[in-house]
Symmetry: C2
Subunit: 370 residues, 2 copies
């Protein structure tokens, strides 16, 4: 049944965005990023855009998404374009008879803005305030449930995949199995390209799975996530087949303690850079400061990397309801790397770790079949 009214959640988001528009005297807002317009309207089509004014919501899409539009935004005006998106947007904005149009500068290309400017003579283009990104940072109970579901799927798939590992399998085979186990549990797509990296390949924080094979004594780094109802999970575990070399035992403990200290430091009101510093300091104290080459974590939700950035570069403050990854790592070029990552919900009193896969040194040493 097509809905004739937006859900309470959608209505509340629209209300908040419209209030921000009113405060900034913005009569019309163009939302062009899929995760943003999904958040604001529930519409799942691609190559589309949404125009919000004080009185109306217009979804501009094409014939491929007719069914989705019927089901998801029956309460909004829907325009099906026959030609390109931008000229259709020009026409929709003109019909709205507004003096100013706000666009999201981070999410609109120079070419699109130039075409809008050319088509919309007499209408001033202004930068939209970051309201949508800020709203998306703090998750509602319904959103937390979906992230939780995406974590459960990723964890259960990981456990199932671990049981199937055999000596001689390639990184690609393990990644294939992991993604298969996620998808059959309801993940619409991997949250990002799954990383399965053996030995030296694990020294690349963004390794691509290839033809390296599982062998006795090897290290395997898994970084993977699921997507459920649009929401993502993002986890990393590093395991050792049969035994762990002394050098990596020290590295594993350094990463694990660094992660635990950072998690203990997370609380609403704390600055991002201060949490990053806790993790980084411990790794530096262990003598590996140079080998932790990336930020500590990032926001997680409809996008797998979204605001906020849990990094030394951000003096933004944690707020209750934010969900962030905490993922320190130590990488030894040519040898391997260890990263441990969990998804954490910020609360007013601290935080709640949403993922529950074991990560003790003991469980990091695994047995595999031949």
């Amino acid at each position: 049944m097509p809905q004739k009214k937006p859900s309470k959640q959608i209505q509340s988001r629209l209300d908040q965005v419209r209030e921000a528009m009113r405060q900034k005297s913005i009569p019309a807002l163009l939302v062009a990023h899929p995760a943003d317009y999904f958040y604001l309207t529930g519409f799942t089509g691609e190559d589309s855009a949404v125009l919000v004014t004080s009185r109306s919501v217009v979804v501009v899409t094409d014939g491929r998404f007719e069914g989705a539009a019927d089901k998801e935004v029956g309460w909004a005006k829907v325009r099906f374009r026959k030609g390109e998106l931008t000229p259709e947007l020009v026409s929709v904005v003109q019909s709205a008879r507004c003096s100013r149009l706000a666009i999201q500068p981070e999410k609109v290309s120079v070419a699109t803005r130039d075409a809008l400017r050319k088509g919309l003579k007499g209408i001033r283009l202004v930068d939209a305030p970051p309201t949508l990104s800020e709203l998306r940072e703090c998750k509602s109970a319904a959103e937390l449930k979906k992230i939780d579901a995406a974590i459960r799927v990723a964890e259960s798939a990981y456990r199932a995949m671990l049981k199937t590992i055999r000596i001689g399998q390639t990184e690609l085979e393990l990644a294939a199995r992991l993604e298969y186990e996620m998808k059959r549990r309801g993940s619409t797509e991997p949250a990002f390209g799954s990383i399965v990296a053996i030995d030296a390949n694990a020294a690349l924080p963004h390794a691509v799975p290839g033809q390296r094979r599982v062998k006795k004594g090897c290290l395997i780094l898994f970084d993977w996530g699921a997507t459920v109802d649009g929401y993502r999970s993002d986890l990393t575990r590093t395991v050792f087949v049969g035994s762990i070399p002394a050098k990596f035992e020290a590295i594993y403990e350094a990463v694990l303690t660094s992660q635990k200290k950072a998690i203990a430091a997370i609380c609403a009101g704390v600055r991002m850079c201060d949490v990053d510093a806790v993790a980084r300091q411990h790794i530096a104290d262990c003598g590996f400061g140079e080998r932790f080459t990336h930020g500590l974590g990032h926001g997680l939700g409809l996008d797998v990397h979204e605001s906020p950035s849990l990094s030394w570069r951000s003096d933004q403050t944690l707020r209750a309801g934010m969900v962030v990854t905490v993922e320190p790592g130590i990488y030894l070029p040519g040898l391997g790397g260890v990263r441990i990552e969990d998804d954490v919900r910020v609360t007013s009193k601290g935080c709640q770790v949403m993922s529950h896969l074991s990560k003790s040194l003991k469980t990091a040493v695994i047995d595999v079949g031949r």
Copy 2:
């Protein structure tokens, strides 16, 4: 071993881009889209950018891609940023001491351009000519080999998946199996979110696999592709379990003949819109004109949707070496849809169909186990 010189292929691409820059009096070009800078340099890092001048190539990336940079662009200057990308780009461009900087308007956000403009006082920002997109349209022999490999993987995975279908399985389970079979054959990632759509779900050209189950007499539409060495394949087949209703028999034949006629019309020198018209006319003649709701096809390469667009909207001309999808479809809301898609290489004398999965009506009716 780090290469100290770019490969012949990379050097030739750089030469062509520099020649276009010289003709347009552009001293410096910023390339920020991953598929573009991979094409131009071979660098696979994300969140990075490349500055090309007449004398130098500078790759701006971060510590996560140190290993990739060593291996792939040992011949270029590499800058590892500690902070955000854009300020680092400002500093790199300033060091290049150029009076003008070209950016790709389709691929740079308004926010990035504004920040560059603010940081680069005295340096004029201009639109880059579409040289890179145009170069990428026509594939070299080496690129054709990679697309071919991506097609082989997708086809072999599809055949393997077909054998595993059982009554009662969900769309998600079939999609999981298909992606698993692709990945273990070497596909780094699905070329796009695989579509497995049963009955009414197949009436949505961009359906999302869900919980609909295989049953006797159902229709299943598969739209999937693999990624090999960065290059994509993109195929669609529609099958019927056990038997085909008379109505869909007519629809299947209409789509198949439409596709064959379009393929027969493809040849270097022909306009995109004229090929689209051939397919569309046949479907209209069969009485389903209103139910073919999207363009006929698109370019295929490092991106799964890239220039050119094989559609009624484009009067661009086919050139030898282009690879395009040909994918007409007929969609009956609430009932189902039929789409058939192959990947085709344009030649001076016509075209070569690169994909070889059977598509006759006879092979579209399949038996599955219980």
